[in-house]
């Protein structure tokens, strides 16, 4: 290709608009694609104070009027927002000096805009399915949920390739929408190691005193306090762990189970061993992850498990339950410890083993950090993504649309 490959990303969130994981994902992916010689235009929803057009680390970001009249409901708003997004993206793509080669949509939230753009410009559409309505709701039950799920099916049908962030999601999406194998491709989510390097080297000993006694080992849980994250499994494992090793359990996050969890802790007489911090700011979180002796992810369900990756990037040893995408991130006994999901015995065994064997712990940390750099590095992910674009364009060039 004589001209640089150019892609238009469609995402309903992009920093400073951050609602979930799609925003940082699109930001890091776009920025790393630019470093690899791809021209990236991001079309996203507007946000108070953010300009309608700006260049962010080489990424051309366009913020559209996201339909600000009152909407009948969230799903209808999504489709109305897509009407504006498609209109503005179409006008932009038509007037750009370099032609857009591919459209890349993220989740059903930009489905109709992506599908429309594909047909009017006759360019390939790719989609990253970060999650599904079936997964979010554990099946579809209402008309709204069915409509969203059918929109997701339509989007994956129209897409040339469907990217998922874990093998677990690949098989889930394949099953949910009945897609052929060769349409699906796994590209992991990345983790930004730089932010952890920035906090490392800062004094852990005095920082830890805010959370634990000097002689206590630090066990860290980060996650929403909801059933599927399994904080209750960790709390039930505590007596078995403190029998063998003196440790403090720091629980970061909030959720509907918070009161219930602290009541359990109280009734177990473990208040001196458990600290609930609630939400913490980014820097405190990174320092907690960097200073922990072990980070525990006891989820019962996890499509990807970014929190385990972050802990590994922070050079913390990890103990995770062997479920969903989480089980794929960790190589047992090499980059971390995998335990049986929803099993306090197994979880206690894993945490105790990591805390009592310093040599083992250090080897897990080193291997995990190496694995992060090898596999979950944004630059490598961008290269993989670029190869997917090039592959699609190769097929496209032989089609009658070209």
């Amino acid at each position: 290709m004589s001209q640089a490959l150019s892609v238009m990303m469609l995402s309903w969130e992009f920093p400073p608009r951050v609602i979930g994981g799609i925003s940082p994902h699109v930001y890091f992916l776009s920025k790393s694609l630019v470093k690899n010689g791809v021209k990236v235009y991001v079309v996203t929803c507007d946000f108070p104070g953010a300009p309608a057009h700006e260049s962010v680390d080489g990424v051309e970001v366009y913020r559209i009027d996201s339909y600000k009249n009152p909407s009948p409901d969230f799903a209808t708003w999504v489709y109305l927002m897509n009407l504006n997004m498609q209109k503005e993206a179409a006008a932009l793509a038509a007037k750009l000096s370099d032609k857009i080669d591919v459209f890349h949509a993220h989740d059903w939230l930009v489905a109709t805009a992506g599908i429309g753009l594909k047909h009017v410009f006759r360019k390939p559409l790719l989609v990253t399915m970060h999650s599904t309505e079936i997964g979010r709701r554990d099946g579809v039950h209402t008309a709204t949920e069915k409509m969203i799920s059918e929109t997701e099916a339509w989007l994956t049908y129209e897409a040339w390739k469907v990217i998922c962030c874990s093998q677990y999601m690949v098989s889930h999406v394949k099953w949910a929408f009945g897609l052929p194998d060769d349409k699906l491709v796994m590209v992991p989510n990345g983790v930004n190691t730089q932010v952890y390097e920035d906090v490392q080297g800062q004094d852990c000993a005095s920082f830890r005193l805010k959370f634990a006694l000097p002689e206590e080992k630090n066990v860290l849980f980060v996650g929403r306090l909801v059933y599927e994250k399994g904080a209750h499994v960790l709390i039930n494992a505590i007596p078995k762990i403190v029998d063998k090793v003196n440790a403090k359990f720091v629980i970061v996050g909030s959720g509907y189970m918070k009161d219930q969890l602290s009541n359990i802790v109280k009734s177990m007489g473990l208040e001196h061993k458990v600290m609930f911090t609630g939400f913490v700011d980014e820097e405190t979180l990174r320092r907690l992850q960097s200073c922990a002796d072990v980070s525990v992810v006891p989820s019962l369900f996890e499509p990807f498990g970014i929190v385990a990756l972050e802990a590994m990037a922070a050079k913390s040893a990890v103990v995770v339950s062997d479920t969903g995408g989480l089980g794929e991130i960790v190589d047992h006994d090499v980059t971390g410890v995998k335990v049986y999901p929803n099993n306090t015995e197994s979880l206690a065994w894993g945490i105790t083993k990591v805390l009592t064997d310093e040599k083992y712990r250090n080897s897990l940390r080193e291997n995990a950090y190496k694995r992060i750099q090898e596999k979950y590095d944004w630059d490598k992910i961008a290269k993989q993504t670029k190869r997917i674009y090039e592959g699609v364009l190769g097929e496209y060039s032989k089609s009658f649309w070209a």
């Binding site: 339909y67 009249n69 009152p70 909407s71 009948p72 409901d73 799903a75 209808t76 489709y79 109305l80 897509n82 009407l83 498609q86 209109k87 503005e88 179409a90 006008a91 793509a93 038509a94 109709t112 599908i115 429309g116 753009l117 047909h119 009017v120 410009f121 006759r122 008309a143 709204t144 069915k146 409509m147 059918e150 929109t151 339509w154 049908y157």
Partner: protein, 208 residues
């Protein structure tokens, strides 16, 4: 001249008067040597077909079968309308002179085709949400009104059937009066006036 009509009803799908009107219009356009396509909805009779009157229809269905209201139904059907129109456009060597859109349903597709491919459109108004909803201003009505507004804003010309409707559009949407042309469907000069309107728009060149 090559023209595409967008209408959410066209025989055999008859909901109101629009099906009969667009069918008569298509017949007259063909008689006046206009290459005429109709993009419309049908639940299952999908695809391209030759009509007895010499026009071609492209019927599309909604890929999303479950809906919570007419708005979500319309907003997911529009991409199929775009796909049909884009197929006509690319197969005709990128030569489509204009799109004539009947009521608000397929305004999103027309706006997108205009912005992407520069095909101008005429917005033909049969009725307005303000009259249909008797002034109701729920978020649902407002969304439909915002789509009507978008249509008036993006259209090259607006086509109405009566002076009363022209004044209502001026009153409610503050559209410049000269943008709106009144063409009575019962007048002898009806098709001649429609063709004149089309010619004015085509003479204006590519949209934007």
């Amino acid at each position: 001249m090559r023209v595409i009509l967008f209408s959410w009803e066209y025989p055999p799908r008859i909901v109101g008067k629009l099906a009969e009107y667009t069918s008569a219009l298509a017949t007259q356009l063909v008689n006046n040597k206009v290459e005429t396509y109709i993009v419309t909805y049908h639940g299952y009779l999908t695809g391209l077909a030759d009509e007895a009157n010499g026009a071609k229809t492209f019927r599309v269905a909604n890929p999303v079968r479950t809906h919570i209201g007419v708005l979500t139904w319309v907003l997911t059907l529009n991409q199929e309308v775009e796909r049909a129109a884009a197929n006509i456009y690319y197969q005709a060597n990128k030569q489509v002179d204009l799109i004539d859109v009947y009521d608000w349903h397929f305004i999103p597709a027309a706006v997108s085709l205009k912005n992407a491919l520069g095909i101008p459109f005429v917005y033909s108004v049969d009725s307005l949400e303000d009259h249909r909803a008797l002034g109701a201003n729920t978020p649902f009505n407002m969304a439909i009104k915002s789509i009507e507004w978008l249509g008036f804003y993006e259209a090259e010309k607006v086509d109405v059937k009566s002076d009363w409707m022209r004044e209502e559009i001026v009153r409610i949407y503050k559209v410049p009066r000269e943008k709106i042309k009144v063409i009575s469907p019962t007048a002898d000069s009806w098709i001649k006036e429609v063709l004149e309107l089309y010619k004015t728009v085509v003479a204006g060149g590519k949209a934007k």
